[in-house]
Amino acid sequence: MRKNKRKSVRGPLWRFLAVLLAAALVAAACGDDSSSTTPDTTTTAADSSDTTTTAADSSDTATEAPAPAPEPATIRYFSMWNEGEPQQQVLQASIDAFEAETGHEVDVLWGGREILTSVRAALSAGDAVDLVDLDAEPLVGALVNTGETQSLAGILDMTIPGEDVTVGDVIPSAFLDVYAIDGEPHLIPHSVVSSGIHYDGSRLAELGIDPPSTWDEFIAAAVAAGDNAVQADGLIDFYNAYWLYWLIVRHGGPGSFHAAASDVTGESWRSAPMRRAVADLVKLVDSGALAAGYDGSSYPLAQQQWAAGDGTFMVNGTWLASETSSYASPGFEYRLLSFPTVDGGSESAELYQIGWVVPNAAQAPDAAQQFIAYALGRDRLAGIADIAKNITPRSDIGVPPEIQDAADIFASEPEVHRIYDGVQGDFPEYWATVFLPLDDQLFFGQISGDEFIDQIASATADFWANQ
């Protein structure tokens, strides 16, 4: 009787717990199933036969002879563009044509600039990430430098569909070398960006000022151009950083900023080229040419004012033309100066790329590489220039007039350096917590050049001592 009674009390609880446990097991099994079979299910979306071999093949085939007719696969593509942006439209057109021609499926996430967050989440969940599209520095910092991407050397020999050329023929090796690991490219660009000093050509002609080419000429031109000559959105610290980084590269050459940032003693900051670069920036700050209130201007106010005719010069990336064209005053003629040179200094050009990487976690790496080669086709890539108003890595694709000056910078095949000399990409914590705050103080005139040198030398040493 007692036994029975106990049973009757426990019955519902045990039954309930048993149901819970069973449900948990089913859920866990489903979870396991979905994460482990995602590659299978995704790869076989188009063709359900022979699923496991496809998934297994995709990781092994790299060393095998190329298959005559690859299985249709699903490429999971993570992109930095938002739906509706010009680049998204250009890439979507390539995707549509690629799917129609190859039978592969491209499952794309248009995730915006913080796409790495989604990539991280997918990687940690064990999901397939076949292709990531983002600007190079964050991409390199987050995935390439951590060894999570694969070599794309194989793409260079692929023939671009519809053309008689290979990828290696049309993408300059200087571009690919920038982020190469052991001589093998890990990032293939679809857009090339640079920075410099933008101005309205017609306005400068009206003012009777010749486009300056040296730093001293630039200061003189800025002073002569009247009120608010040099516009700046001071609340964007990495825009402010363009000035000092460029001056350092001009005075010390490519790699000198990177070397100073990574010098554990901090003493490189006290070198003569650094002091000259800092002194040149102080000249600009003291010249009075910077727009009133530049240190408290929030993006994109200053660049809108500049395009509307309030101000003459503005340092920024080559995307400034497309960002400001809707505010431009009538007759505005977009022109770009290469960053002014200094006596005996370097004349190298900044190369900033936006492109693709294929993570090691890719489940359809061959199809992903095939897509890259396809999207680099002349007609398809031309949209990056015509619609998105960016320079492409292919020299046989022309650019619209508003970015012709930027394209000309690369036409002469100059020595190139990474944006911010690679400091932002390789040492993001140093960049955000050591360099940018002190650079802002120097650029806002809160500290003198000597104070800046002393403070950054000791802060650099402290930073590395703490690592």
Binding site: P138, D233, A292, D295, G296, S297, S298, D440
Partner: protein, 313 residues
């Protein structure tokens, strides 16, 4: 007698067994919620504590156990000290101003006819996404063509125009914005307390010849003390955790400059960043743990300082 005892004990034991039955059944109903809570709150918290003792960049990187290194580094890190200092400034200075304004509004509203309407209006900033407000403040405080400087020029106060978002005033402008947002929230809470006070206390005080200040300190404060103590705790939590408004202030859509970071912004930038991720998850977790400890300690202190016998009325 015996009979009575047995009859008495029986219902008691029946009650007890019924009670245990209820408890058992309660366990069934609590279990799912408890499991979810353990899974999504307790486990990640323990995980965060564990990560704070490691150097780890996330998936693909092997976590290296470094003991209390991350905490020691914070101690020596100027940027962290800056973020910590700004968080305390917001907490103390911002809190002082919020409560002064909240009390002024409360006292004014108490005797106003359209108090519900005005209370809704001052509460309004709380229902608008902080990011939108932050961008609006950027437009308001822009150096040239900004609404505030434009207004000052219009009324002949050109000498008072400032670069409100410049390095000297940026954080003060952020505090001003947060005060504007949260004052309405605390007015609503304090009003709920003040509305409970029977009008005859104020009438009696008036008959006794009490001034407005005396009514405030002798009637309002003591009779809303419990509400005030809850409000103070809420402010501590809000001030330390506020993120979006500070992050988006200036409206750039990118990480703000380190000169305006508070602790939550600092955690976000070093742990996740956005376009140039730092991925110092160990350091970020250590700061998060410090934040939780700070909130805990300050709540304990606030409760301790504000502990009074509740006045019943």
């Amino acid at each position: 007698m015996n009979k009575i005892v047995t009859t008495r004990t029986k219902p008691v034991s029946a009650k007890l067994s019924r009670h245990t039955g209820v408890r058992r059944h309660a366990a069934i109903f609590v279990a799912p919620a408890l499991a979810v809570y353990l899974l999504i709150v307790i486990a990640p918290s323990i995980g965060t504590l564990w990560i704070s003792f490691t150097k780890w960049k996330g998936i693909g990187d092997e976590a290296e156990f470094v003991g209390i290194d991350n905490y020691q580094q914070l101690w020596r890190n100027d940027t962290f000290r800056g973020s910590f200092g700004r968080t305390l400034t917001l907490l103390v200075a911002g809190g002082f101003v919020v409560f002064v304004f909240a009390f002024i509004f409360t006292m004014l509203l108490r005797e106003m006819r359209s108090k519900k309407l005005i209370r809704a209006i001052v509460f309004f900033p709380n229902v608008v996404p902080p990011v939108a407000l932050a961008i609006a403040w950027g437009v308001l405080l822009a150096p040239r063509n900004g609404l505030l400087n434009g207004f000052l020029e219009l009324v002949g106060l050109s000498s008072q125009t400032r670069t409100w978002l410049g390095p000297d005033l940026l954080f003060r402008s952020i505090i001003a914005g947060l005060v504007w947002i949260y004052t309405g929230f605390f007015v609503t809470i304090l009003m709920a307390g003040v509305d409970r006070i029977p009008a005859y206390y104020y009438e009696a005080a008036e008959l006794e010849g009490a001034s407005a200040r005396q009514k405030f300190t002798r009637v309002t404060i003591p009779l809303t003390w419990d509400v005030l103590s809850v409000a103070a705790v809420l402010w501590v939590i809000l001030a330390i955790k506020t993120f979006e408004f500070i992050y988006a202030f200036g409206g750039s859509g990118t990480d703000p400059s380190a000169s305006s970071w508070t602790l939550p912004v600092h955690v976000y930038v070093v742990a996740l960043g956005n376009r140039s991720p730092i991925l110092a998850l160990g350091q970020g977790s250590a700061i998060a743990v410090v934040m939780v400890a700070l909130v805990g300690a300050l709540i304990f202190l606030t409760r301790r300082v504000m502990r009074r016998a509740v006045v019943e009325f």
